[in-house]
Symmetry: C2
Subunit: 156 residues, 2 copies
């Protein structure tokens, strides 16, 4: 739908007139303590802009898909896995998730991690890692440590 | 082009590995003290995400176009004209510029105004106001005061 011209930022990752949504509608996708806000979604826009906030200690789903994520970190601190890289991120770092790169966002234990994410309005559904993929990812010690906490078990 | 996975925010509206560009390539479009950075532009993304920064006292071009702007204010303070509304904005307010709405962004005199702007990769060229349009816009005293400073004269 077309939205109002101005929606003011309230505080702490919240806006007036922007609904908080469940991160996923798919109960099978493991994640912890993530909320989603759709900031812009318009019939004349070819992309959507969403805001995700991961609470301290939480994480998004480890997944991949054909569509690209264009991410601007907005608030807090955390780490990201993209492909074979694990990196610390802070406001307003830019993260690009290329097609079919396994990726996950984790907030630090003592801070939330809030980020804007631009995606094509028309996009494919995410794929979850199977056991063989998880085993292969874990061959890299940095990735093994990063995804260790739940390692694919459903917690969301 | 496809970009690097991570580009870190440096400070004050600047990122590592993100080039500062002229705001417009069109010398006929009036503006003052605006720079542009293309944060995300990817063959598989249907939109681009740009960062514009208006220096204190500066302003973007007063213009309109068919394509929609989806804006997140990132830094500083200023005011925006969208259609018939003039509003003060601050981080991280959301501004949606609907199709064919006349619009302009102005930084306050003592602060920059930096904002993210999402647009379709395929989009129409902006239209500038002619004398009749300016006269009609100026019938609203709030708009007249807002666009007063250069009122269409080329300063960029």
């Amino acid at each position: 739908m077309s939205g109002p011209i101005l929606r003011r930022y309230a505080a702490a990752g919240a806006w007036d007139e922007v609904e908080v949504r469940a991160y996923k509608n798919d109960d099978a996708a493991p994640y912890r303590d993530v909320t989603r806000r759709v900031l812009f979604e318009h019939p004349e826009l070819a992309c959507a802009l969403r805001y995700f906030e991961v609470a301290p200690g939480g994480h998004t789903t480890l997944e991949r898909h054909r569509h690209v994520h264009a991410v601007v970190i907005q608030r807090g601190r955390g780490r990201v896995l993209v492909g074979s890289r694990v990196e610390a991120v802070a406001p307003f770092d830019l993260v690009e998730v290329p097609p079919l790169a396994w990726h996950q966002f984790r907030a630090d234990a003592d801070a939330p991690l809030g980020f804007l994410c631009m995606v094509n309005a028309q996009r494919d559904r995410p794929e979850l890692p199977d056991a063989a993929t998880l085993a292969r990812l874990r061959e890299d010690p940095a990735i093994a440590a990063f995804i260790r906490v739940d390692g694919g078990a459903a917690t969301g």
